[in-house]
Symmetry: C2
């Protein structure tokens, strides 16, 4: 299939106006139930046609006994029925001019020789009929700008720019769940399943072409066409970052890959070299994959490797500087104009160095002022602000201390007003971070004082900013962005 | 001072029956306020004597105009008044037979030559008078088995076995805040400040001697007496783990150390070698310091490096195996008796390998059964269970999907009962983990499916178990424990 037809089919797959669910059911726990309830529960706005030969109504939708009974046109069919029924179902799809199919059903090449033959049969039918299918044995797809969530786990992902392609469905679904708790918005997700017909390379090209996706996270266990991968990905990395986690980098890991997806994992060196040559950012584990890709889906790419740091106290500055040097980032000495400026704000013994140690001074204006000084300083390319945000937990405990001492509780209004006042201070700081990030095109990252206190991604009127629980994670994100910058500049 | 007298003074410092606070105040934000409100707000059970020349009553306690006016004996004095008043205050302490002092006040060697002289003066007074003081310029101490929290940030730490010694107060306080959100119990904490008299080495020896402390986390920027450090610590690591983070390991980092605590950071190689020779576990950043030390404060040390893994799905197993091999851990092939046993429980195409892939089977008995098989398998020394726990978020979203489909809400009772049923399944799994951990003396770690869903440390009737948000963190903890085991075995 040529690229134009393929992308047209993938538009039907990821941006369908109507979907049929072959094997839909209202029996909890079954795939047909999970897909249907996730589609309806995430308020998909297109038409939904459940197909089931024994039910009349599923979750409030009229049911059709067979796919061919659906009276209207269908853009995308999900299939969860047993493997052996697939050839017939695909023929019906062809007859109904359905060009995109998501095959959830398992029982194909992953189960042995018989399954392999069946898989070959459905590929032949689909290819001859002009159908593009993902799977079989995929754990689903999601397309947030079309409000379509059809994975096998109940999740309500947020809308955003992150694309995820995963050769493991359970890893992909777990990363989606994490993205929700980190407030990271998802663009498109695809679990590739057995890749009988549609390959990771095809999806990568398609994600690269879509404006809804600003950064692509990739979990791969094995790529069958390495040359094709390099060809596709090097065009994408010119315009948007691709962040990859390779499963099976070790000898025991590649054994586990074989037992999982049946892929030959290939040597780690080959993948390292492929990624390096094509500007793919390689990460070491799933959380790093999400954090780096999530951050890069909203942050500007820094122009160089110089970092300005502000801190509430000395120890955090030391740790952050160590991390920077180990990541090949530079922490330049503070310019005279910044020292002179801050002399007016800080006690005489302040450290006059980068990281700027605010020695615990609480004045919110000082923090905003220092942030402006660093962001506008032409000797740095990125800024890290340690500890200004993430203090609400301390205010709450302070109030609890007072309550214990007084032997009575504050009214909920008082508690709320104190915590809101502090939240507002932090929200103002986030807004200023976003404003400066937009204006200066430098990434500005915050590190939270209390680990649980802020979301990873904070949405503000001026754009999105990233807040991390630890300095090492902030440095790691900047490190990867700088490497990406170096790759782009080398082209 | 000999060790016996020193430890007697430190008993007064960390387990006082009465404390005076010289400089106590009810003006929010001041150190005298923060210390007093944290002591009272954490329900310290000993006597509290605020000292302030202008107040009659602070937070419900009668106030004494001068330390010498306190009518009763005092075990420990906190001092927050200006530096120049310290010599006089220490003389009063001597007169009142107070042997332990926490000097919060700053304005000593960290501010210049004059401060240096003043610091020398107070050391001389204290040493001649038989006083042991911590600081000056410390951000406080905490001793949870004495309900004494006297740090400068409002926190309510939990009670447990973790000892923390920090050469940065703000880093120490932040780690304490994290420990609360991770449900990690604290034994004793000391922020060392300027270490004018009491050194990190002394505190290390003392923490090593106390049964309340089962593992010690150490943040150091510089040790003045390296030989003394090695002498102290090698006795401690024989009986309990010491986990260290060295600040200033890089050249820019050591510049930052100089500007922070004034220490000479020393070369990273010297510290690496000191740690290696004495069995100190070195970590790379603050969160790793907390997680490894927190875990080791409750887990048995594994006998070797062989890991058994169970997983809900293939991708997570692959990732975990990669992490294991990179950490020099072995993932042995599954024994025949386990394969035969699980053949009775799992579909015929199950992977028959370690990691055991439960292919999403939800049956709680299967999970408990598999856990037992792995824990009792004599070819592994540690067990990692991926994804059985941390599913409550998915159940919640599943209910929300149904609500959206029905167009109405479930009653709070129904929601609660569904979520409780799932929580109970997971709690039972945690209990079984703890039971098996106790019985087999193998560490058994869980990795949660949803990142925010479970505490890091889970307390059960059979003991505490650790649950991690990611497989790499579980593997990292086991890696450090195995290295510690190798050190112990080499003695």
């Amino acid at each position: 299939m040529n690229k134009k037809d393929l992308f047209a089919n993938l538009d039907k797959m990821f941006f369908p106006k109507s979907v049929a669910i072959v094997g839909s059911t209202d029996i909890p726990g079954k795939w047909g139930f999970l897909i249907t309830s996730n589609i309806l529960g995430n308020a998909y706005k297109g038409k939904v046609y459940p197909v089931n030969s024994t039910k009349k109504n599923i979750m409030g939708c009229p049911v059709y006994p067979d796919l061919k009974d659906v009276p209207d046109g269908v853009d995308l069919a999900f299939v969860t029925i047993p493997a052996k029924a697939l050839p017939e179902t695909l023929k019906t799809c062809i007859a109904k001019n359905i060009r995109a199919v998501v095959i959830i059903s398992s029982g194909f090449s992953e189960t042995g020789q018989e399954g392999k033959l069946l898989e070959k049969e459905i590929v032949d039918i689909a290819t001859q009929g002009g159908i593009t299918f993902i799977g079989p044995n995929t754990m689903g797809i999601a397309s947030m700008h079309n409000d379509l969530v059809s994975v096998g786990t109940p999740v309500h992902p947020l809308k955003g720019g992150l694309g995820i392609i995963s050769q493991s469905g359970n890893l992909g679904t777990q990363i989606i769940q994490w993205s929700i708790s980190k407030n990271i918005g998802l663009g498109i997700y695809a679990g590739t399943g057995n890749e009988a017909q549609l390959k990771t390379n095809d999806l990568l090209s398609y994600f690269g072409s879509r404006h809804e996706v600003s950064a692509i996270a990739l979990y791969i266990e094995g790529i069958s066409d390495g040359k094709g991968f390099m060809e596709s990905v090097k065009h994408i990395t010119k315009v948007k970052p691709v962040i990859a986690l390779k499963g099976g980098r070790t000898s025991t890991g590649s054994q586990a890959v074989k037992s999982h997806t049946g892929s030959m994992a290939g040597s780690a060196e080959i993948y390292n070299s492929m990624f390096k040559q094509t500007g793919v950012i390689q990460v070491d584990n799933p959380s790093e994959l999400l954090y780096v890709a999530g951050a890069m889906s909203v942050l500007p790419v820094p122009k160089g490797n110089r970092i300005g740091i502000m801190s509430l106290g000395g120890g955090w500055g030391v740790i952050t500087v160590d991390e920077c040097e180990m990541a090949d980032l530079k922490v330049p000495s503070l310019s005279e104009h910044i020292i002179e400026d801050l002399n007016k704000w800080l006690p005489s013994f302040w450290n006059k160095a980068n990281p700027i140690d605010l020695v615990g001074e609480p004045n919110p204006e000082l923090h905003i002022h220092t942030l402006n000084l660093l962001a506008n300083w032409d000797e740095v390319d990125s800024v890290i602000a340690l500890g200004t945000v993430g203090q609400v937990a301390f205010y709450r405990t302070g109030l609890e201390n007072q309550e214990r001492i007084m032997g009575k509780k504050f009214s909920p209004e008082i508690v709320e007003s104190v915590l809101k006042a502090r939240s507002d201070v932090e929200l103002n700081f986030f807004k200023e971070m976003a404003r400066l990030q937009k204006e200066t095109k430098k990434p500005i990252l915050a590190v939270s004082l209390a680990q649980e206190d802020t979301d990873f991604m904070v949405n503000t009127e001026h754009g999105n900013v990233i807040t991390l629980p630890t300095p090492e994670e902030a440095v790691n994100i900047i490190k990867h962005m700088v490497r990406y910058r170096n790759y782009i500049d080398s082209l």
